[in-house]
């Protein structure tokens, strides 16, 4: 069959729907790609204006090569997530230029669907989901337009059709989403950059690492508590524990320090804190939890540093319950760990060692700690996000010269001082603080709450938390940083309690939005094999195997499809004409009296028959018939007035007939 050329109308639809599908990619693609694609869109628009405006083939070819070369130049490859999506975007826009026939148009439309789905690799917020649904309606309408290129239905007709189709598809989609057997991905390898752009604690710390992380406003995790929310000074969320340093960078150290450790490490004191954490993907194994985590609901290992590690790097949002104790003792320190907790860099500066020795002089461990904190508090140290760069011996320069630093500087210097004084110490990275959302009743912890603190080992209590940052800037523990008001090199400003109606209103809105995001994450985005098993178990399918799941799936889909079919085919067509409605009421009423209107009987004949059969009704029936005929077959000047008159008369008539509802005379026909 010959494929005729596309009409300008179809091609305009294609342009609009492709543009809408590509639009959300503009946020994360390089600027030149956006410019390139918009240029092609304009070129396509130009070809729509007149039939003689065509794009020569060599130009399309040249643009294709240029696009591919650009991607290669940008990413160094044509494969992978970012390069692949960029290439797809460019090729879709170029395919548009070539779309001359319905077959090409369908290819463009299917590719548009594909471009829409690739957007979910970058963002999955409910807002984007809504936008995608709207775009899908437009793309589907375009499919309808190009499929029936020649017919002249108006645009809204196609849009309504697409909307109807997609709304009818929703129930079946939900069934598939919930019951389609989920497996733990990936099936095959993911491109290396599949999780690019994920922020989080890195498992190592060097000057500037945390302050860089703090600049991200991204969510780290959300925590909800079954009991009371812990006080601000207890909101330390434990992450990677760092033992080993070369004087600049801190790392987790030897493999043994990440090995599983026994439960006996922690002797709880006081009441447990139950929390449920929804951790965002951060591409590392650490499972963040309130310090100190004691037990966790998912398979994970506890390290000697009381960290919890997932079996694999966390590459999707996960949820787990944790029991933590804010009050605890830990046991003895074995020789291996003691050695690790006292490790010092080879090139430790003399000044630093002397300072520590000076404090140590016959003093107890606690006295040394107190002196160190007093040192930070009394000397002119400044807590700043943008400290001056440190060169050869960073800790020496920081302690004695620049004296400006962020939490990682204070913590690293403090731990080095402790170790120099012979006190086992280590660096703990994690988060401190969090914003409580009263709408969703959970605590939101952002990357900007990233923090580092120290732990020292004392013979009587075991490991104990010491936060040297608190000695310099006690406000840090109570308040979040105010990232919008940081000056270069200046002390950190904190977000104090916001006052005023407007700001509290805005805060409420922000809470509501984040609650929406959180519910979306909980119920939609974190639905996986585990949740599916839970749900099926709750539905009574304890040992759900594939066969049973496929049966349930097929059964439910059939039920929903039948429902939609019933709705489509059994629904009485909507009679919009009120005149016909009133007339039908009237005929029904007469029908009850035994005078059904015959299908072939016009209103005039009908009323004549009624009048002949029941002469006493003639005075009512005749005017009703007259008005009806005028409304239906004349073109009266005042149709609304006549309609109300008709309605009134019919109402009066039926009302009266109801009142004397004596059994009607035996109908003779």
């Amino acid at each position: 069959m010959t494929d005729p050329s596309l009409t300008v109308r179809s091609r305009s639809w294609l342009l609009v729907s492709t543009g809408l599908a590509l639009l959300p990619h503009a946020w994360h693609l390089p600027v030149w790609v956006t410019v390139f694609v918009v240029g092609i869109g304009l070129l396509y628009r130009y070809t729509l204006q007149a039939p003689q405006h065509t794009v020569p083939r060599f130009l399309v070819l040249a643009l294709t090569l240029a696009g591919a070369a650009g991607v290669l130049w940008q990413y160094g490859t044509l494969l992978g997530r970012n390069a692949g999506v960029t290439l797809l975007v460019i090729m879709l826009s170029l395919k548009l230029l070539e779309a001359q026939r319905p077959r090409d148009a369908r290819l463009v439309i299917f590719t548009s669907y594909f471009v829409v789905i690739t957007n979910f690799l970058f963002t999955e917020t409910p807002l984007i989901a809504l936008y995608m649904f709207a775009i899908t309606i437009v793309i589907t309408a375009t499919l309808s337009v190009v499929t029936h290129d020649s017919d002249i239905r108006p645009a809204h007709n196609h849009l309504r059709l697409a909307g109807t189709l997609l709304l009818q598809a929703l129930p079946v989609m939900l069934v598939l989403f919930i019951f389609f057997p989920r497996i733990i991905g990936p099936i095959w390898g993911l491109p290396k950059d599949a999780h690019a752009g994920v922020t989080g604690l890195s498992g190592s710390m060097s000057p500037g690492a945390i302050s860089r992380l703090v600049e991200s406003g991204a969510t780290a995790f959300r925590a909800s508590f079954s009991g009371p929310v812990p006080a601000p000074e207890q909101r330390y969320w434990r992450g990677p524990v760092l033992w080993k340093t070369d004087g600049r960078t801190w790392t987790t150290g030897a493999f043994v320090l990440l090995a599983p450790a026994s439960k006996a490490l922690l002797q709880p004191q006081g009441d447990p804190v139950q929390q449920e954490i929804t951790l965002e993907s951060h591409n590392k194994r650490w499972l963040l939890a309130l310090d100190r985590p004691y037990a966790i609901s998912i398979p994970a290992t506890r390290t000697v540093g009381s960290e919890w590690l997932a079996p694999k790097a966390v590459r999707e949002r996960i949820r787990y319950a944790v029991t933590s104790y804010t009050d605890y003792r830990t046991g003895d320190l074995n020789p291996v760990l003691r050695k690790a907790a006292l490790q010092l860099p080879e090139n430790l500066s003399e000044r630093l060692r002397e300072l520590a020795q000076h404090w140590r002089h016959n003093a107890s461990d606690r006295a040394v700690i107190r002196k160190a904190l007093e040192y930070f508090h009394n000397e002119p140290f400044i807590y700043t996000l943008t400290p001056p760069p440190l060169d050869e011996d960073p800790m020496d320069e920081f302690l004695f010269e620049t004296r400006r630093g962020f939490c990682e500087h204070y913590t690293a210097a403090f731990v080095l001082l402790m170790r120099s004084a012979g006190i086992p110490a280590r660096v703990v990275t994690g988060y401190q603080g969090g914003e409580y959302n009263p709408v969703g009743e959970y605590m939101l912890v952002r990357q900007s709450d990233a923090h580092a603190w120290a732990e020292v080992w004392l013979p009587d209590t075991g490991w104990e938390r010491v936060d040297p940052t608190a000695a310099v800037a006690p406000e840090r523990i109570e308040h979040a940083l105010d990232l919008s008001a940081q000056d270069s090199g200046a002390p950190v400003r904190f977000r104090l309690i916001e006052g005023g109606l407007l700001s509290s209103g805005l805060r409420g809105l922000r809470y509501a939005l984040d609650t929406l995001n959180n519910s979306w994450n909980q119920w939609v985005l974190s639905y996986g094999p585990g949740r599916q098993r839970e749900l099926l178990a709750a539905l009574g399918m304890q040992q759900a195997n594939w066969k049973a799941m496929v049966l349930v799936l097929a059964g439910l889909i059939s039920v929903f499809l039948l429902g939609i079919a019933a709705w489509m085919f059994l629904r009485k067509p909507h009679r919009s004409d009120p005149v016909v409605q009133v007339w039908n009421t009237y005929c029904r009423r007469l029908g009850q009296l035994g005078m059904q209107r015959k299908p072939w009987e016009g209103p005039r004949d009908y009323s004549r028959r009624v009048a002949a059969y029941r002469p006493e009704l003639a005075s009512q029936v005749n005017p009703i018939t007259d008005i009806y005929i005028r409304l239906r077959y004349d073109n009266p000047e005042n149709p609304t007035g006549l309609l109300t008159q008709l309605q009134r008369r019919v109402r009066q008539y039926t009302g009266r007939a109801k009142r004397k509802r004596t059994p009607p005379d035996k109908p003779a026909d």
Binding site: M1, R106, F110, Y113, F114, V116, I117, F120, L121, E124, A129, M132, F133, T136, T140, L143, S144, T147, H148, S150, D151, R153, L161, L165, L166, Q168, A169, L170, P171, V172, M173, L176, F177, F180, I183, I184, G185, P186, I187, W188, L190, A194, R315, E316, V524, L525, S526, Y527, G528, I557, L561, I564, A565, M568, F569, P573, H574
Partner: protein
């Protein structure tokens, strides 16, 4: 409604050929309509599969959701495709006679008693390009479809297909129909060949050449009832009495077109030749009659007579040997 036995329902022939010839009108209902994915639909399924695999690989729930949304949409569109055909009523209209070798046009009446507008209903006959029609609720339209003819006789339209890919082109619903209704196919006109019998000049009691519309004969005074087209207007302009142009010669020449004059040809060639002569005689305004073995059509003229003659030729069957 036709009831089908279970065995009938699963007959493959019903799927590929429909229910056979039947009188109209026919309403399309469940038992007649079939639906299968189109090539576009299969392509769409491939795209969906790739989307689903990608979603599984990336464990992307939004991806799952989107793939499922499009898949469900395709499923739901089956109902829309079906509804676009269901309930339509088809019956055959007239078919204008044609000569063998021409395309025979058949009128098909389509009516839509359902409350929905049906879009892009395609009627497909043989290898002809499909004819598309839109039908609003309660409307009826007549669609002419064509089928090539090769030989004279009564040509049925035969099996044809009504199909629709509304709304998205992913599925095609179709029904095969074969309704009673024939088109008369006249023989293919033969080569121009002189009529062996010359036209017979017959004196006529109403005048030398009779009265008619062909040849101008004379002027005569106007009588009430004369056609104004025959008025001699120039005389009116000269303020002379009204004159009427009298024509004559209608019944002057009579011609017998005889089967037996064409002994040198075979049956079909003879019929073609007779067909040609009928056309020529009609064109020359002759009165003619047709003589076939076992059939004689009396002298007459006019389009109706011409049709009768040509139809007789179209449906001619050589009687059993005895006559010739």
């Amino acid at each position: 409604m036709q009831t089908l036995t279970l065995r009938d329902r699963f007959r493959l022939a019903r799927f590929t050929r429909g229910l056979g010839t039947e009188p109209g009108p026919v309403t399309l209902e469940r038992s007649r309509i079939f639906i299968l994915p189109t090539t576009t639909g299969l392509m769409f399924a491939m795209v969906l599969l790739v989307m689903l695999l990608g979603s599984i690989n990336y464990t992307n729930n939004m991806g799952y959701m989107f793939s499922f949304l499009l898949g469900s949409m395709a499923l739901v569109s089956i109902f829309h495709t079906y509804r676009n055909l269901a309930g339509l009523r088809f019956s055959m209209g007239k078919a204008t006679p044609v000569f063998a070798g021409e395309r025979a046009g058949f009128d098909i009446r389509v009516s839509n008693p359902s409350p929905y507008t049906h879009y892009a209903i395609e009627l497909i006959v043989g290898g002809e390009p499909p004819v598309s029609v839109d039908l609003e609720p309660g409307h009826e339209k007549t669609v002419t479809v064509y089928r090539p003819t090769t030989s004279r006789g009564l040509q049925p339209l035969g099996r044809w297909k009504v199909s629709s890919t509304v709304p998205l082109g992913l599925f095609c619903a179709w029904a095969h129909l074969d309704l009673h209704g024939n088109c008369v196919v006249y023989p293919r006109p033969g080569p121009r060949r002189p009529v062996p019998q010359t036209a017979v000049y017959k004196p006529n009691q109403s005048g030398d050449k009779g009265r008619g519309v062909d040849d101008f004969a004379c002027f005569r005074p106007y009588r009430p009832g004369d056609s104004p087209r025959h008025l001699f207007w120039k005389a009116v302009a000269r303020e002379q009495p009204l004159l009427v142009k009298q024509f004559g010669g209608d019944r002057a020449d009579e011609l017998w077109l005889d089967w037996h004059d064409l002994r040198d040809l075979d049956t079909e060639a003879r019929l073609s030749q007779l067909c040609r002569w009928v056309l020529d005689a009609e064109q020359q305004q002759l009165r003619y009659g047709l003589h076939l073995p076992g059939l004689q059509l009396e002298m007459d003229r006019g389009s109706e007579h011409r049709h009768h003659c040509l139809q007789a030729l179209a449906q001619f069957r050589l009687p059993p040997p005895a006559d010739d």
